[in-house]
Protein backbone atom coordinates (compact mmCIF):
# COMPACT_ATOMS: atom_id res chain seq x y z
CA UNK A 1 0.00 0.00 0.00
CA UNK A 2 1.32 3.36 -0.96
CA UNK A 3 1.94 5.66 2.00
CA UNK A 4 -0.01 8.92 1.82
CA UNK A 5 1.77 12.29 1.83
CA UNK A 6 0.01 13.07 5.13
CA UNK A 7 1.35 9.87 6.67
CA UNK A 8 4.89 10.63 5.46
CA UNK A 9 4.65 14.16 6.85
CA UNK A 10 3.41 12.83 10.15
CA UNK A 11 6.28 10.34 10.40
CA UNK A 12 8.74 13.09 9.46
CA UNK A 13 7.29 15.33 12.15
CA UNK A 14 7.52 12.67 14.79
CA UNK A 15 11.15 11.92 13.77
CA UNK A 16 12.01 15.62 14.05
CA UNK A 17 10.24 15.83 17.37
CA UNK A 18 12.25 12.89 18.62
CA UNK A 19 15.50 14.48 17.41
CA UNK A 20 14.53 17.78 19.01
CA UNK A 21 14.49 15.92 22.29
CA UNK A 22 18.06 14.79 21.88
CA UNK A 23 20.36 15.70 24.73
CA UNK A 24 22.32 18.90 24.22
CA UNK A 25 25.48 19.12 26.30
CA UNK A 26 25.99 22.53 27.83
CA UNK A 27 29.08 23.98 29.37
CA UNK A 28 29.38 26.56 32.07
CA UNK A 29 31.85 29.23 33.07
CA UNK A 30 31.90 31.17 36.30
CA UNK A 31 33.00 34.60 37.35
CA UNK A 32 33.37 35.20 41.07
CA UNK A 33 31.52 38.16 42.51
CA UNK A 34 32.51 39.50 45.93
CA UNK A 35 29.39 40.28 47.96
CA UNK A 36 31.12 42.68 50.36
CA UNK A 37 29.72 40.69 53.28
CA UNK A 38 32.12 39.10 55.74
CA UNK A 39 32.11 37.10 58.98
CA UNK A 40 34.58 36.93 61.84
CA UNK A 41 32.63 34.64 64.16
CA UNK A 42 29.84 32.10 64.10
CA UNK A 43 27.04 34.58 64.68
CA UNK A 44 28.16 36.69 61.74
CA UNK A 45 28.46 33.56 59.61
CA UNK A 46 24.95 32.55 60.64
CA UNK A 47 23.51 35.95 59.83
CA UNK A 48 25.21 35.79 56.45
CA UNK A 49 23.74 32.35 55.77
CA UNK A 50 20.28 33.79 56.39
CA UNK A 51 20.79 36.76 54.11
CA UNK A 52 23.14 35.95 51.22
CA UNK A 53 21.78 34.84 47.87
CA UNK A 54 21.39 31.21 46.91
CA UNK A 55 24.27 31.54 44.48
CA UNK A 56 26.56 32.39 47.40
CA UNK A 57 25.48 29.23 49.25
CA UNK A 58 26.04 27.25 46.06
CA UNK A 59 29.46 28.82 45.49
CA UNK A 60 30.79 28.07 48.96
CA UNK A 61 29.59 24.48 48.89
CA UNK A 62 30.69 23.68 45.34
CA UNK A 63 33.62 25.82 44.18
CA UNK A 64 36.16 23.38 45.57
CA UNK A 65 35.15 20.73 43.03
CA UNK A 66 36.45 22.87 40.17
CA UNK A 67 39.74 23.64 41.90
CA UNK A 68 42.97 21.76 41.53
CA UNK A 69 44.15 20.45 44.90
CA UNK A 70 47.65 19.40 45.89
CA UNK A 71 46.41 17.27 48.75
CA UNK A 72 43.02 15.89 49.69
CA UNK A 73 41.13 19.05 50.71
CA UNK A 74 40.28 19.31 54.38
CA UNK A 75 36.62 19.73 53.47
CA UNK A 76 34.93 20.56 50.18
CA UNK A 77 32.57 22.95 51.91
CA UNK A 78 34.04 26.45 52.52
CA UNK A 79 31.87 27.07 55.58
CA UNK A 80 33.06 23.83 57.19
CA UNK A 81 36.69 24.54 56.38
CA UNK A 82 36.53 28.07 57.75
CA UNK A 83 34.77 27.08 60.96
CA UNK A 84 37.32 24.31 61.58
CA UNK A 85 40.48 26.15 60.55
CA UNK A 86 39.86 29.82 61.32
CA UNK A 87 37.66 29.40 64.41
CA UNK A 88 39.11 26.12 65.62
CA UNK A 89 35.57 24.69 65.92
CA UNK A 90 36.53 21.32 64.52
CA UNK A 91 33.43 19.49 65.70
CA UNK A 92 31.10 21.95 64.03
CA UNK A 93 33.28 21.97 60.92
CA UNK A 94 32.88 18.24 60.66
CA UNK A 95 29.11 18.46 61.13
CA UNK A 96 28.80 21.10 58.40
CA UNK A 97 30.96 19.06 56.04
CA UNK A 98 28.85 15.99 56.74
CA UNK A 99 25.65 17.54 55.43
CA UNK A 100 24.70 15.30 52.51
CA UNK A 101 24.11 17.79 49.76
CA UNK A 102 23.09 14.91 47.50
CA UNK A 103 19.96 14.61 49.64
CA UNK A 104 19.02 18.28 49.18
CA UNK A 105 16.68 19.04 46.34
CA UNK A 106 17.18 22.80 46.45
CA UNK A 107 19.54 25.49 47.67
CA UNK A 108 16.85 26.54 50.13
CA UNK A 109 16.97 23.12 51.74
CA UNK A 110 20.77 23.22 51.90
CA UNK A 111 20.70 26.71 53.43
CA UNK A 112 18.24 25.56 56.09
CA UNK A 113 20.43 22.58 57.00
CA UNK A 114 23.53 24.76 57.32
CA UNK A 115 21.65 27.24 59.49
CA UNK A 116 20.08 24.52 61.65
CA UNK A 117 23.48 22.88 62.22
CA UNK A 118 25.10 26.13 63.39
CA UNK A 119 22.13 27.13 65.55
CA UNK A 120 22.10 23.71 67.15
CA UNK A 121 25.82 24.04 67.90
CA UNK A 122 25.34 27.51 69.39
CA UNK A 123 22.45 26.26 71.58
CA UNK A 124 24.69 23.57 73.03
CA UNK A 125 27.68 25.83 73.51
CA UNK A 126 26.06 29.09 74.54
CA UNK A 127 28.07 29.41 77.73
CA UNK A 128 31.39 29.35 75.89
CA UNK A 129 33.19 32.50 74.81
CA UNK A 130 32.60 32.94 71.06
CA UNK A 131 35.75 32.51 69.01
CA UNK A 132 36.75 35.18 66.53
CA UNK A 133 38.89 34.69 63.46
CA UNK A 134 42.25 36.41 63.09
CA UNK A 135 41.88 39.48 60.78
CA UNK A 136 43.78 37.59 58.08
CA UNK A 137 41.28 34.73 58.28
CA UNK A 138 38.01 36.63 57.94
CA UNK A 139 35.38 34.82 55.86
CA UNK A 140 34.34 36.75 52.75
CA UNK A 141 31.03 35.73 51.25
CA UNK A 142 31.38 35.47 47.51
CA UNK A 143 29.10 34.11 44.87
CA UNK A 144 29.55 33.05 41.33
CA UNK A 145 27.85 34.40 38.33
CA UNK A 146 27.29 31.47 36.04
CA UNK A 147 27.21 31.58 32.24
CA UNK A 148 25.72 28.55 30.56
CA UNK A 149 26.52 27.95 26.89
CA UNK A 150 25.29 25.23 24.53
CA UNK A 151 28.04 23.12 22.95
CA UNK A 152 27.72 21.48 19.57
CA UNK A 153 27.50 18.07 21.20
CA UNK A 154 24.03 16.55 20.89
CA UNK A 155 23.21 12.92 21.66
CA UNK A 156 20.17 11.12 20.28
CA UNK A 157 21.04 7.62 21.42
CA UNK A 158 22.73 6.12 24.44
CA UNK A 159 25.75 5.26 22.27
CA UNK A 160 26.10 8.88 21.18
CA UNK A 161 25.61 9.99 24.77
CA UNK A 162 28.40 7.63 25.90
CA UNK A 163 30.78 9.01 23.29
CA UNK A 164 30.14 12.66 24.16
CA UNK A 165 30.44 11.86 27.86
CA UNK A 166 34.03 10.73 27.34
CA UNK A 167 34.80 13.99 25.52
CA UNK A 168 33.18 16.72 27.62
CA UNK A 169 35.12 19.08 29.88
CA UNK A 170 34.98 19.15 33.66
CA UNK A 171 33.00 22.39 33.41
CA UNK A 172 30.35 20.68 31.34
CA UNK A 173 30.23 17.70 33.70
CA UNK A 174 30.01 20.02 36.71
CA UNK A 175 27.07 21.83 35.17
CA UNK A 176 25.11 18.72 34.22
CA UNK A 177 25.68 16.96 37.54
CA UNK A 178 25.87 19.62 40.25
CA UNK A 179 24.01 22.64 38.92
CA UNK A 180 21.07 20.88 37.35
CA UNK A 181 20.29 18.97 40.55
CA UNK A 182 19.86 22.05 42.68
CA UNK A 183 18.27 24.47 40.22
CA UNK A 184 14.77 23.36 39.29
CA UNK A 185 14.51 25.15 35.97
CA UNK A 186 17.65 23.40 34.70
CA UNK A 187 16.51 19.93 35.73
CA UNK A 188 15.74 18.69 32.23
CA UNK A 189 19.47 19.00 31.56
CA UNK A 190 20.24 16.41 34.24
CA UNK A 191 21.72 13.29 32.60
CA UNK A 192 19.48 10.96 34.58
CA UNK A 193 16.31 12.86 33.66
CA UNK A 194 17.04 12.57 29.94
CA UNK A 195 18.07 8.94 30.17
CA UNK A 196 14.85 8.14 32.02
CA UNK A 197 12.34 10.30 30.19
CA UNK A 198 13.67 10.26 26.65
CA UNK A 199 15.32 6.85 26.45
CA UNK A 200 13.05 5.12 28.97
CA UNK A 201 16.02 3.64 30.80
CA UNK A 202 14.75 4.02 34.33
CA UNK A 203 17.24 1.61 35.92
CA UNK A 204 20.20 3.43 34.43
CA UNK A 205 18.74 6.73 35.62
CA UNK A 206 18.42 5.39 39.17
CA UNK A 207 22.00 4.13 39.15
CA UNK A 208 23.20 7.49 37.80
CA UNK A 209 21.43 9.30 40.61
CA UNK A 210 22.95 6.94 43.16
CA UNK A 211 26.46 8.05 42.21
CA UNK A 212 27.29 10.62 44.87
CA UNK A 213 29.30 13.39 43.16
CA UNK A 214 30.16 14.97 46.50
CA UNK A 215 32.54 12.20 47.49
CA UNK A 216 34.30 11.95 44.13
CA UNK A 217 36.60 14.10 42.07
CA UNK A 218 35.21 15.22 38.71
CA UNK A 219 37.64 12.87 37.00
CA UNK A 220 36.43 9.89 39.03
CA UNK A 221 32.82 10.89 38.54
CA UNK A 222 33.28 11.02 34.79
CA UNK A 223 34.95 7.61 34.74
CA UNK A 224 32.19 6.09 36.87
CA UNK A 225 29.45 7.53 34.66
CA UNK A 226 31.19 6.32 31.51
CA UNK A 227 31.56 2.82 32.99
CA UNK A 228 27.92 2.75 34.01
CA UNK A 229 26.68 3.72 30.57
CA UNK A 230 29.12 1.35 28.84
CA UNK A 231 27.88 -1.50 31.03
CA UNK A 232 24.27 -0.88 29.97
CA UNK A 233 25.22 -0.65 26.29
CA UNK A 234 27.26 -3.85 26.58
CA UNK A 235 24.36 -5.69 28.22
CA UNK A 236 21.89 -4.51 25.57
CA UNK A 237 24.23 -5.69 22.79
CA UNK A 238 24.55 -9.09 24.44
CA UNK A 239 20.77 -9.37 24.88
CA UNK A 240 20.24 -8.44 21.24
Amino acid sequence: MQESQKGRDSRQESRLAREAQGFTFYTERRLVEITGRKASDLKELLQGLYEVSGSSIFYHTHQSFLQRHFTVPFYRNDFATWVAEALGEEGLGERLASINIIDCSSIRELRELLIWTIEDHLRHHETLEPRRAHPDEVFYFSKSKSFVFPTNRIAHTLEEFAWHLTQISHHSLFYHVFVTRLLPYNRDRDFSVWVSEELGKKDLAIRMRQLDPYVRTLEDLKNDLVSLVAEVIGREETDA
Binding site: T27, L31, E33, G36, S144, K145, F149
Partner: protein, 413 residues
Protein backbone atom coordinates in the same frame (compact mmCIF):
# COMPACT_ATOMS: atom_id res chain seq x y z
CA UNK B 1 57.63 40.32 15.67
CA UNK B 2 54.41 38.83 14.32
CA UNK B 3 51.21 39.63 16.23
CA UNK B 4 50.21 37.26 18.99
CA UNK B 5 47.76 34.54 18.09
CA UNK B 6 45.67 32.72 20.62
CA UNK B 7 46.19 29.44 18.80
CA UNK B 8 49.89 29.62 19.72
CA UNK B 9 48.84 28.96 23.33
CA UNK B 10 47.25 25.62 22.55
CA UNK B 11 50.53 23.79 23.13
CA UNK B 12 50.62 25.16 26.69
CA UNK B 13 46.99 25.12 27.79
CA UNK B 14 45.37 22.55 25.50
CA UNK B 15 42.71 22.78 22.79
CA UNK B 16 39.80 22.83 25.19
CA UNK B 17 40.84 26.12 26.77
CA UNK B 18 41.27 27.80 23.38
CA UNK B 19 37.88 26.56 22.18
CA UNK B 20 36.29 27.83 25.39
CA UNK B 21 37.67 31.32 24.76
CA UNK B 22 36.39 31.37 21.18
CA UNK B 23 33.00 30.16 22.40
CA UNK B 24 32.60 32.96 24.95
CA UNK B 25 34.13 35.62 22.68
CA UNK B 26 31.63 34.66 20.00
CA UNK B 27 28.93 36.40 22.03
CA UNK B 28 31.00 39.59 22.16
CA UNK B 29 32.48 39.86 18.66
CA UNK B 30 33.00 43.46 17.60
CA UNK B 31 32.55 44.83 21.12
CA UNK B 32 34.68 47.91 21.72
CA UNK B 33 36.85 47.55 24.80
CA UNK B 34 39.15 50.30 26.03
CA UNK B 35 41.81 49.97 28.72
CA UNK B 36 43.32 53.05 30.36
CA UNK B 37 46.27 53.04 32.75
CA UNK B 38 49.15 55.28 33.72
CA UNK B 39 52.26 53.74 32.17
CA UNK B 40 53.12 51.93 28.96
CA UNK B 41 56.29 50.38 30.42
CA UNK B 42 57.26 49.02 33.81
CA UNK B 43 55.17 47.35 36.46
CA UNK B 44 52.69 44.53 36.31
CA UNK B 45 49.69 46.39 34.89
CA UNK B 46 51.52 47.52 31.75
CA UNK B 47 52.98 44.05 31.37
CA UNK B 48 49.56 42.39 31.49
CA UNK B 49 48.00 44.89 29.08
CA UNK B 50 50.88 44.47 26.63
CA UNK B 51 50.08 40.78 26.50
CA UNK B 52 46.33 40.85 26.78
CA UNK B 53 45.27 43.51 24.28
CA UNK B 54 46.52 41.67 21.14
CA UNK B 55 44.93 38.43 22.31
CA UNK B 56 41.58 40.13 22.90
CA UNK B 57 41.84 41.52 19.38
CA UNK B 58 42.56 38.03 18.08
CA UNK B 59 39.33 36.94 19.77
CA UNK B 60 37.36 39.50 17.79
CA UNK B 61 37.16 42.18 20.47
CA UNK B 62 37.90 45.69 19.21
CA UNK B 63 40.39 46.38 22.01
CA UNK B 64 42.42 49.55 22.54
CA UNK B 65 44.82 50.67 25.26
CA UNK B 66 45.46 54.30 26.17
CA UNK B 67 47.89 55.74 28.69
CA UNK B 68 47.30 58.95 30.64
CA UNK B 69 50.00 61.60 30.74
CA UNK B 70 51.18 63.42 33.81
CA UNK B 71 53.87 65.72 35.13
CA UNK B 72 56.33 64.58 37.76
CA UNK B 73 54.21 66.50 40.24
CA UNK B 74 51.11 64.49 39.27
CA UNK B 75 52.91 61.18 39.68
CA UNK B 76 54.31 62.33 43.05
CA UNK B 77 50.72 62.89 44.13
CA UNK B 78 49.46 59.58 42.77
CA UNK B 79 52.38 57.70 44.33
CA UNK B 80 51.50 59.17 47.71
CA UNK B 81 47.88 58.30 47.11
CA UNK B 82 48.94 54.78 46.10
CA UNK B 83 50.96 54.37 49.31
CA UNK B 84 48.12 55.76 51.43
CA UNK B 85 45.61 53.42 49.82
CA UNK B 86 47.91 50.57 50.82
CA UNK B 87 47.76 51.79 54.41
CA UNK B 88 50.58 54.30 54.83
CA UNK B 89 49.38 57.38 56.72
CA UNK B 90 49.65 60.24 54.26
CA UNK B 91 47.78 63.52 54.50
CA UNK B 92 45.73 64.18 51.37
CA UNK B 93 45.84 67.93 50.94
CA UNK B 94 43.60 70.17 48.84
CA UNK B 95 46.70 70.96 46.74
CA UNK B 96 47.05 67.26 45.91
CA UNK B 97 43.40 67.05 44.95
CA UNK B 98 43.81 70.05 42.70
CA UNK B 99 46.81 68.51 40.90
CA UNK B 100 44.87 65.25 40.47
CA UNK B 101 41.79 66.98 39.10
CA UNK B 102 43.72 69.26 36.74
CA UNK B 103 45.49 66.28 35.19
CA UNK B 104 42.23 64.38 34.98
CA UNK B 105 40.73 67.20 32.92
CA UNK B 106 43.81 67.41 30.67
CA UNK B 107 43.74 63.68 30.03
CA UNK B 108 39.98 63.57 29.49
CA UNK B 109 40.36 66.29 26.85
CA UNK B 110 43.15 64.52 25.00
CA UNK B 111 41.99 60.89 25.12
CA UNK B 112 39.22 59.30 23.09
CA UNK B 113 37.31 57.53 25.85
CA UNK B 114 34.67 55.93 23.63
CA UNK B 115 34.03 52.22 24.06
CA UNK B 116 31.35 49.72 24.99
CA UNK B 117 33.50 48.70 27.96
CA UNK B 118 36.01 51.09 29.44
CA UNK B 119 38.35 49.52 31.98
CA UNK B 120 40.24 52.05 34.09
CA UNK B 121 43.23 50.60 35.91
CA UNK B 122 44.20 51.77 39.40
CA UNK B 123 43.80 55.16 41.09
CA UNK B 124 45.83 57.36 38.72
CA UNK B 125 43.22 57.56 35.92
CA UNK B 126 40.16 56.79 38.12
CA UNK B 127 38.94 60.38 37.94
CA UNK B 128 38.27 60.04 34.21
CA UNK B 129 34.84 58.64 35.12
CA UNK B 130 33.69 62.21 35.72
CA UNK B 131 34.29 62.84 32.00
CA UNK B 132 32.49 59.72 30.74
CA UNK B 133 31.36 60.58 27.22
CA UNK B 134 28.04 58.68 27.33
CA UNK B 135 26.04 56.77 29.89
CA UNK B 136 25.37 53.86 27.53
CA UNK B 137 28.90 52.53 27.83
CA UNK B 138 29.99 50.41 30.79
CA UNK B 139 32.83 51.70 32.95
CA UNK B 140 34.74 49.35 35.22
CA UNK B 141 37.40 50.26 37.77
CA UNK B 142 40.17 47.67 37.96
CA UNK B 143 42.05 47.85 41.25
CA UNK B 144 45.47 46.16 41.22
CA UNK B 145 46.61 47.32 44.65
CA UNK B 146 46.14 46.03 48.18
CA UNK B 147 43.12 47.96 49.45
CA UNK B 148 42.61 45.80 52.54
CA UNK B 149 43.35 48.60 55.01
CA UNK B 150 43.46 51.93 53.20
CA UNK B 151 44.25 55.12 55.03
CA UNK B 152 40.71 56.57 55.46
CA UNK B 153 41.49 59.96 53.93
CA UNK B 154 42.94 58.36 50.82
CA UNK B 155 39.96 56.05 50.33
CA UNK B 156 37.57 58.95 50.91
CA UNK B 157 39.37 60.81 48.13
CA UNK B 158 39.19 57.89 45.69
CA UNK B 159 35.79 56.57 46.69
CA UNK B 160 33.91 59.53 45.26
CA UNK B 161 35.16 58.49 41.83
CA UNK B 162 34.89 54.73 42.25
CA UNK B 163 31.21 54.84 43.25
CA UNK B 164 30.39 56.29 39.85
CA UNK B 165 31.58 53.15 38.02
CA UNK B 166 29.30 50.31 36.91
CA UNK B 167 31.50 47.62 38.44
CA UNK B 168 34.87 47.09 40.11
CA UNK B 169 37.45 44.35 39.90
CA UNK B 170 39.70 43.28 42.78
CA UNK B 171 42.46 40.67 43.03
CA UNK B 172 41.38 39.48 46.50
CA UNK B 173 38.05 39.47 48.37
CA UNK B 174 39.84 41.28 51.22
CA UNK B 175 40.50 44.27 48.94
CA UNK B 176 36.80 44.86 48.21
CA UNK B 177 35.01 47.90 49.64
CA UNK B 178 31.48 49.03 50.29
CA UNK B 179 30.39 50.08 46.83
CA UNK B 180 27.01 50.45 45.13
CA UNK B 181 27.88 48.16 42.23
CA UNK B 182 29.06 44.62 41.49
CA UNK B 183 32.58 43.75 42.61
CA UNK B 184 34.31 40.94 40.75
CA UNK B 185 37.29 38.83 41.68
CA UNK B 186 39.83 38.56 38.88
CA UNK B 187 43.37 37.50 39.67
CA UNK B 188 46.21 38.74 37.46
CA UNK B 189 48.08 36.34 35.24
CA UNK B 190 51.28 35.74 33.33
CA UNK B 191 51.86 35.06 29.66
CA UNK B 192 53.71 31.73 29.28
CA UNK B 193 54.91 32.65 25.78
CA UNK B 194 56.24 36.13 26.56
CA UNK B 195 59.95 36.84 26.69
CA UNK B 196 59.59 37.02 30.48
CA UNK B 197 58.32 33.46 30.76
CA UNK B 198 59.13 31.38 27.68
CA UNK B 199 61.67 28.60 27.74
CA UNK B 200 65.25 29.72 27.24
CA UNK B 201 68.39 28.20 25.80
CA UNK B 202 70.73 27.26 28.69
CA UNK B 203 73.58 29.03 26.87
CA UNK B 204 71.62 32.29 26.99
CA UNK B 205 71.04 31.87 30.73
CA UNK B 206 74.78 31.28 31.30
CA UNK B 207 75.53 34.36 29.22
CA UNK B 208 73.28 36.54 31.37
CA UNK B 209 74.95 35.29 34.57
CA UNK B 210 78.33 36.05 33.08
CA UNK B 211 77.19 39.49 31.93
CA UNK B 212 76.22 40.45 35.48
CA UNK B 213 79.14 38.72 37.20
CA UNK B 214 76.98 36.12 38.96
CA UNK B 215 78.67 32.86 39.91
CA UNK B 216 76.73 29.95 38.35
CA UNK B 217 78.23 27.49 40.86
CA UNK B 218 76.95 29.26 43.98
CA UNK B 219 73.27 29.12 45.03
CA UNK B 220 71.39 32.19 43.83
CA UNK B 221 68.61 33.83 45.83
CA UNK B 222 66.71 36.36 43.75
CA UNK B 223 64.11 39.05 44.20
CA UNK B 224 62.88 40.74 41.04
CA UNK B 225 60.82 43.85 41.64
CA UNK B 226 60.73 47.59 41.30
CA UNK B 227 62.85 49.41 43.89
CA UNK B 228 59.96 50.26 46.15
CA UNK B 229 59.75 50.32 49.98
CA UNK B 230 56.65 48.13 49.81
CA UNK B 231 58.73 45.35 48.20
CA UNK B 232 61.11 45.54 51.18
CA UNK B 233 64.47 45.20 49.35
CA UNK B 234 66.23 46.44 52.50
CA UNK B 235 64.61 43.64 54.53
CA UNK B 236 65.74 41.15 51.89
CA UNK B 237 69.37 42.27 52.31
CA UNK B 238 69.09 41.90 56.08
CA UNK B 239 67.67 38.39 55.73
CA UNK B 240 70.44 37.49 53.27
CA UNK B 241 73.09 38.71 55.70
CA UNK B 242 71.68 36.37 58.36
CA UNK B 243 71.80 33.46 55.91
CA UNK B 244 75.35 34.33 54.82
CA UNK B 245 76.69 33.76 58.32
CA UNK B 246 76.47 30.01 57.68
CA UNK B 247 75.78 29.53 53.97
CA UNK B 248 77.78 30.26 50.86
CA UNK B 249 75.28 31.88 48.53
CA UNK B 250 74.59 35.08 46.63
CA UNK B 251 71.72 37.52 46.39
CA UNK B 252 70.37 39.13 43.23
CA UNK B 253 68.11 42.17 43.59
CA UNK B 254 66.94 42.96 40.08
CA UNK B 255 64.59 45.80 39.42
CA UNK B 256 63.53 48.34 36.92
CA UNK B 257 61.62 51.54 37.20
CA UNK B 258 58.21 52.66 36.06
CA UNK B 259 57.42 56.09 34.65
CA UNK B 260 54.61 56.50 37.18
CA UNK B 261 56.90 55.76 40.19
CA UNK B 262 59.11 58.73 41.10
CA UNK B 263 60.23 57.10 44.37
CA UNK B 264 62.30 54.38 42.67
CA UNK B 265 65.66 56.15 42.46
CA UNK B 266 65.59 57.09 46.16
CA UNK B 267 64.96 53.46 47.16
CA UNK B 268 67.66 52.22 44.78
CA UNK B 269 70.25 54.50 46.41
CA UNK B 270 69.35 53.14 49.85
CA UNK B 271 69.60 49.56 48.58
CA UNK B 272 73.05 50.23 47.12
CA UNK B 273 74.16 51.81 50.37
CA UNK B 274 72.94 48.85 52.38
CA UNK B 275 74.58 46.35 49.97
CA UNK B 276 77.79 48.21 50.70
CA UNK B 277 79.76 46.71 47.76
CA UNK B 278 79.32 43.16 49.08
CA UNK B 279 80.48 41.04 46.08
CA UNK B 280 77.75 38.50 46.82
CA UNK B 281 74.96 41.07 46.57
CA UNK B 282 74.16 41.92 42.96
CA UNK B 283 71.97 45.01 42.68
CA UNK B 284 70.88 45.12 39.04
CA UNK B 285 69.14 48.16 37.63
CA UNK B 286 67.52 46.80 34.52
CA UNK B 287 65.99 48.82 31.70
CA UNK B 288 62.31 48.17 30.86
CA UNK B 289 63.13 45.90 27.89
CA UNK B 290 64.98 43.34 30.03
CA UNK B 291 62.36 40.61 30.00
CA UNK B 292 64.71 37.96 28.64
CA UNK B 293 67.36 38.84 31.23
CA UNK B 294 64.81 38.64 34.06
CA UNK B 295 63.60 35.32 32.72
CA UNK B 296 67.19 34.04 32.69
CA UNK B 297 67.88 35.27 36.22
CA UNK B 298 64.74 33.59 37.55
CA UNK B 299 65.58 30.33 35.78
CA UNK B 300 69.14 30.37 37.14
CA UNK B 301 67.96 30.97 40.70
CA UNK B 302 67.81 28.42 43.49
CA UNK B 303 65.12 30.27 45.46
CA UNK B 304 62.96 33.23 44.51
CA UNK B 305 61.83 35.84 47.04
CA UNK B 306 59.01 38.36 46.97
CA UNK B 307 59.23 39.71 50.48
CA UNK B 308 56.64 42.43 50.00
CA UNK B 309 55.12 44.36 52.89
CA UNK B 310 52.07 45.21 50.78
CA UNK B 311 51.17 43.60 47.49
CA UNK B 312 48.07 43.59 45.34
CA UNK B 313 49.33 40.57 43.50
CA UNK B 314 52.95 39.55 42.94
CA UNK B 315 53.43 38.73 39.28
CA UNK B 316 57.02 37.71 40.03
CA UNK B 317 55.69 35.05 42.39
CA UNK B 318 53.69 33.54 39.55
CA UNK B 319 56.60 33.88 37.11
CA UNK B 320 58.90 32.02 39.49
CA UNK B 321 56.39 29.24 40.15
CA UNK B 322 55.93 28.81 36.40
CA UNK B 323 59.69 28.26 36.15
CA UNK B 324 59.50 25.53 38.76
CA UNK B 325 61.12 27.51 41.57
CA UNK B 326 60.21 27.46 45.26
CA UNK B 327 59.04 30.92 46.30
CA UNK B 328 59.24 32.73 49.63
CA UNK B 329 56.70 35.52 49.76
CA UNK B 330 55.57 38.06 52.32
CA UNK B 331 52.26 36.89 53.85
CA UNK B 332 50.43 39.92 52.52
CA UNK B 333 47.80 40.74 49.92
CA UNK B 334 47.53 38.58 46.85
CA UNK B 335 50.69 36.65 47.73
CA UNK B 336 48.68 34.82 50.40
CA UNK B 337 46.51 33.38 47.64
CA UNK B 338 49.34 32.78 45.19
CA UNK B 339 51.67 30.78 47.41
CA UNK B 340 50.21 27.62 48.88
CA UNK B 341 52.18 27.57 52.11
CA UNK B 342 54.24 24.41 52.37
CA UNK B 343 53.35 23.22 48.87
CA UNK B 344 54.58 25.82 46.38
CA UNK B 345 56.76 27.79 48.79
CA UNK B 346 56.54 29.47 52.15
CA UNK B 347 54.76 32.58 53.38
CA UNK B 348 57.02 34.65 55.64
CA UNK B 349 56.27 37.42 58.12
CA UNK B 350 59.68 38.61 59.27
CA UNK B 351 63.31 39.02 58.30
CA UNK B 352 64.26 36.15 60.63
CA UNK B 353 61.56 33.94 59.14
CA UNK B 354 62.78 34.71 55.64
CA UNK B 355 66.35 33.79 56.60
CA UNK B 356 65.17 30.56 58.24
CA UNK B 357 63.16 29.44 55.18
CA UNK B 358 66.04 30.28 52.82
CA UNK B 359 68.37 28.10 54.86
CA UNK B 360 65.79 25.31 55.04
CA UNK B 361 65.36 25.30 51.27
CA UNK B 362 69.07 25.58 50.54
CA UNK B 363 69.58 22.33 52.43
CA UNK B 364 66.66 20.39 50.96
CA UNK B 365 66.91 19.95 47.18
CA UNK B 366 64.05 17.42 47.26
CA UNK B 367 61.72 19.96 48.83
CA UNK B 368 62.79 22.61 46.32
CA UNK B 369 61.99 20.23 43.48
CA UNK B 370 58.58 19.23 44.86
CA UNK B 371 57.61 22.82 45.55
CA UNK B 372 58.77 23.83 42.08
CA UNK B 373 56.64 21.15 40.45
CA UNK B 374 53.61 22.06 42.54
CA UNK B 375 54.10 25.73 41.74
CA UNK B 376 54.16 25.11 38.02
CA UNK B 377 50.97 23.03 38.24
CA UNK B 378 49.32 25.73 40.37
CA UNK B 379 50.10 28.38 37.74
CA UNK B 380 48.99 26.11 34.90
CA UNK B 381 45.61 25.67 36.61
CA UNK B 382 45.00 29.21 37.82
CA UNK B 383 47.32 31.96 36.70
CA UNK B 384 47.89 31.84 32.95
CA UNK B 385 46.72 34.60 30.65
CA UNK B 386 44.09 32.38 29.07
CA UNK B 387 42.18 32.23 32.38
CA UNK B 388 42.51 35.99 32.68
CA UNK B 389 41.14 36.49 29.15
CA UNK B 390 38.17 34.27 29.97
CA UNK B 391 37.47 36.34 33.09
CA UNK B 392 37.51 39.58 31.11
CA UNK B 393 35.14 38.13 28.51
CA UNK B 394 32.79 36.95 31.25
CA UNK B 395 33.07 40.31 32.94
CA UNK B 396 31.72 42.02 29.82
CA UNK B 397 28.80 39.61 29.78
CA UNK B 398 28.29 40.05 33.53
CA UNK B 399 28.25 43.85 33.62
CA UNK B 400 25.46 43.87 31.06
CA UNK B 401 23.37 41.61 33.34
CA UNK B 402 24.07 42.80 36.89
CA UNK B 403 20.99 41.17 38.44
CA UNK B 404 21.26 37.67 37.00
CA UNK B 405 23.15 34.96 38.90
CA UNK B 406 22.75 32.48 36.05
CA UNK B 407 22.93 33.67 32.48
CA UNK B 408 21.64 31.10 30.02
CA UNK B 409 22.63 31.28 26.38
CA UNK B 410 20.28 29.13 24.33
CA UNK B 411 21.98 29.51 20.95
CA UNK B 412 25.55 29.37 19.73
CA UNK B 413 26.92 32.78 18.71
Amino acid sequence: MSPKRLDDYEKVVGREVIEELHLVAGYLRGTKMLHVNSTRLGGGVAEILNQMVPLLEDLGIDCKWLVIKGSNNFFQVTKQLHNALQGKPVEITSGMEQVYQEHTVLNADSLDLEGDFVIIHDPQPAGLITHRPKETSNWVWRCHIDLSSPHPEAWEFLQKYVVKYDASIFSMPAFSQELPHGQYLIEPSIDPLSDKNRDLDPAFISGVLEQYGIDPEKPIITQVSRFDYMKDPLGVIQAFRQVKKRENCQLVLAGGSATDDPEGSEVLEKVKAQADHDPDIHVLELPPDSDLEINALQRASTIILQKSLKEGFGLTVTEAMWKGKPVLGGAVGGIRRQIIHGFTGFLVRSIEGTAFRIRQLLHDPGLRKRMGENGRAHVQANYLITRHLKDYLLLMLAVQRPQEDIVNFFFSP
